[in-house]
Amino acid sequence: MDFNDSPAEAAFRAQAQAWLAAHAPAHVLPVGIKMADTEEAARGRAWMRELHDGGWAGLTFPKALGGRGLSGIEAVIFAEEEARYNLPKGPFTSIGTGMALPVIARHGTDEQRERFIAPTLKGDVTWCQLFSEPAAGSDLAALRTRAVQADDGSGDWIVNGQKVWSSWAHLTDWGILVVRTDPTVPKHKGLTFFVVDMSTPGIETRPIRQISGMSEFNETFLTDVRIPDANRLGAVGEGWACCMTVLMGERLGSGAHRSGVEPLLALAGRTPDGDGGTMADDCAVRLALADALAEEQGERFFQARLRTMVSKGENPGALAGMIKLAYAGRQQRALGLGMELRGLDAIAADPADTATSELQYDYIYSTVMRIAGGADEVLRNQIAERVLGMPGEVRMDKNVPFEQLR
């Protein structure tokens, strides 16, 4: 066991550091300034272009497809170094690189690869994900958006339905879309996967007013949207396999987290306890914060174990979900505690107290982490079934044609 970089890893890290030191500062986002989302997305594209021109795009992507063909561990090292700068990274670019590219590479035709991969790596094409629906979240295969082939002989598909939680759909160029093409077969078997140009007539994107006051998620309505058959990925009825490719990328991607607990310790140290000391001396606070800190360290070292697995060519599988499950719940509890230790001031603080307003926002946002990218309950099922070998859930809809389900 050695927690430090191997010589090869250290050399790669040094290369990454040197390149980032020369190119990242010009792209760093100003702290504390709220930026229009169009501006943020534009800066995201510019950083993608910089990465591409510097040879740092698609690190783990095969060379033949325009990537660097490096190992997972090198991608992790680059991501760690990149995270030292506050760069314009977010769903507006990562859905393309983390979800659209893997599915196109694996299930697309040569022509589709040619058309999408290079432009996506350059930041010229950005992507959104049109998967979830109001009645299909964790049970994604229950989705109802329908596609039927036009009867005009064009081979085009006509799509009608509604998608939800489509981050940045209003600002991206293309979407990855899964729809139902055959309701007469069981739910997983009647799905087909498409890429769709977001400027196609009939697509209407409306921002969702979130509990945080922000609107980075959307609902997307599709009304008689015409998609050429050339934009179908994989065979008709094989959409679920494509979804699996995408969701696998989502799970492995949810690894890097910013520190949550140390700022709370500092906050406790700046909060008077009414007894001449600070809340950092309060026994209950100390016990709870130490617990959270110990768990956070455990998550970090667990991540290191998974990195080691990846570097040895092993697939962590459902183990990766454990970190997300631990992190999301711990973060919500710790942030809630952070508010409590401030007292009533946590509810309405002096406008200059940006630490408290960040705490409030983070506490609201911590709910997202427990739901998105595999809800707590879904992850617990996966851990029980795939890691512990316990039985799968009872499925009432198994082998029942979709149209016969309630």
Binding site: M1, D2, F3, N4, D5, S6, E9, I73, E262, P263, L265, A266, G269, R270, A280, C283, R286, L287, L289, A290, D291, L293, A294, E295, Q297, G298, E299, R300, F301, F302, A304, R305, R307, T308, M309, S311, K312, M322, L325, A326, A352, D353, T354, A355, T356, E377, L379, R380, N381, I383, A384, E385, V387, L388, G389, M390, P391, G392, E393, V394
Partner: protein, 369 residues
């Protein structure tokens, strides 16, 4: 980075696991409890003959000179089977105390005998309820007076390392000034004693200021032992619920059970990850040890308590019987939760270890203060 046990360490774990599974099945534990035994002496002899007792003791003093991580691997396996041996007392605490604070003469005299398992030492720190401050005993002019209780494994030990204030003393137990009284032990597989010292002949272990390091290093080993115990509980819980039919299907198929055991699995992996880092740091990065040991200790207590409680819970009524095996872990877990400092003690150690970084933090957050 290579953040995994080495192949040799994995083999060591398998070797230990194989031996222990064969020699200390649950029926053996029941037998020991029914007989009021202090320990499993034949098992101790075997552990010693395998070299486990000397694993982390330097080669110059009759040991194998292996690392803290290797010792952790062994501790984890001892925890998995709830072994009734004085390994923690004699090896993890007493031998390490002598190694850290003893003179060359003391080390040369005692470490080889502890490494071989021929001599057993106990570690006397607690003085009744409350923290372990060592204020209830005094060593003056080579004479030790006072009382220590409870002390694990004192009945079978011939030597004791005694915490006296911030320092340590070494004392032979087979002398007139020492009275040992067996207490009723909550952990039925680890005998505990009250020891009264009355002008007993003792000598200081002169190395000063080693207690925090000794406790940090012992905390790492306690974490490994807890991880082993927690894993055994989880496996037992999964196996039982897979077998047990309820309302026409296996109990393991219900989400209430699946989710509970999934949470146990997550708690164990966090604890194991912290224990790995702390074991590595104890050897390779001592300045990281205090924070790493405390984090390992806290997450290991949490994992084992959750695993021991929920294992008994998913067994239902049968879990409350002596014939079922849940109780061994349910009792051992509480013992491990309070050995070498409780949760509050380690919470303090962890926050202290982070105070430097916290200061940096408050600066970076600027005016908000």
């Amino acid at each position: 980075m290579d953040f995994d046990l080495s192949d040799e360490q994995k083999m060591l774990a398998e070797q230990a696991r194989g031996l222990l599974a064969e020699r200390t099945p649950f029926d053996r534990l029941r037998q020991l409890i029914d007989a009021g035994a202090e320990w499993d002496e034949p098992l101790w002899r075997e552990i010693a003959s395998m070299g486990f007792t000397g694993a982390a003791i330097p080669e110059d003093f009759g040991g194998l000179g292996m690392t803290e991580l290797d010792l952790g691997v062994i501790q984890q396996e001892l925890g998995r089977v709830n072994a009734s041996v004085p390994f923690f007392s004699s090896i993890v605490l007493a031998a390490d105390a002598i190694r850290l604070a003893g003179t060359e003469t003391q080390k040369a005299e005692w470490l080889p005998q502890l490494a071989s398992g021929d001599v057993i030492a106990c570690f006397a720190s607690a003085e009744g309820p409350g923290p372990m401050l060592g204020q209830g005993v005094a060593l003056v002019g080579g004479k030790l007076n006072g009382t220590k209780q409870p002390v694990a494994d004192a009945g079978i030990a011939s030597l004791a390392v005694v915490q006296v204030g911030d320092g340590l003393a070494l004392i032979r137990l087979d002398q007139p000034g020492v009275t040992r009284t067996r207490l009723d032990s909550f952990d039925q597989l680890r005998a505990h004693y009250r020891i009264d010292f009355n002008d007993a002949v003792a000598e200081p272990l002169p190395g000063g200021g080693v207690l925090p390091t000794l406790f940090d290093r012992a905390a790492v080993q306690a974490a490994f032992e807890a991880v082993g115990g927690a894993e055994a509980c989880l496996q037992m819980g999964v196996a039982y619920t897979m077998e047990r039919q309820m309302f026409g299907r296996p109990l393991a198929g219900y989400q209430a059970i699946k989710h509970k055991l999934a949470d146990v699995a997550v708690a164990i992996e966090l604890a194991r990850s912290n224990a790995y880092f702390a074991g590595w740091a104890a050897q390779a990065s001592p300045h990281d040890l205090p924070g790493a040991a405390a984090a390992a200790r806290l997450t290991a207590i949490k994992a084992f308590e959750l695993a021991a409680r929920e294992n008994l819970q998913v067994h239902g009524g049968i879990g409350y019987t002596f014939e079922a095996n849940c109780h061994f872990y349910y009792r051992r877990e509480r013992m491990l939760a309070v050995i070498v400092g409780n949760r509050g003690f380690w919470a303090g150690r962890l926050l202290d270890a982070h105070s430097a970084t916290v200061d940096t933090c408050s600066q970076s957050q600027g005016k908000a203060a």
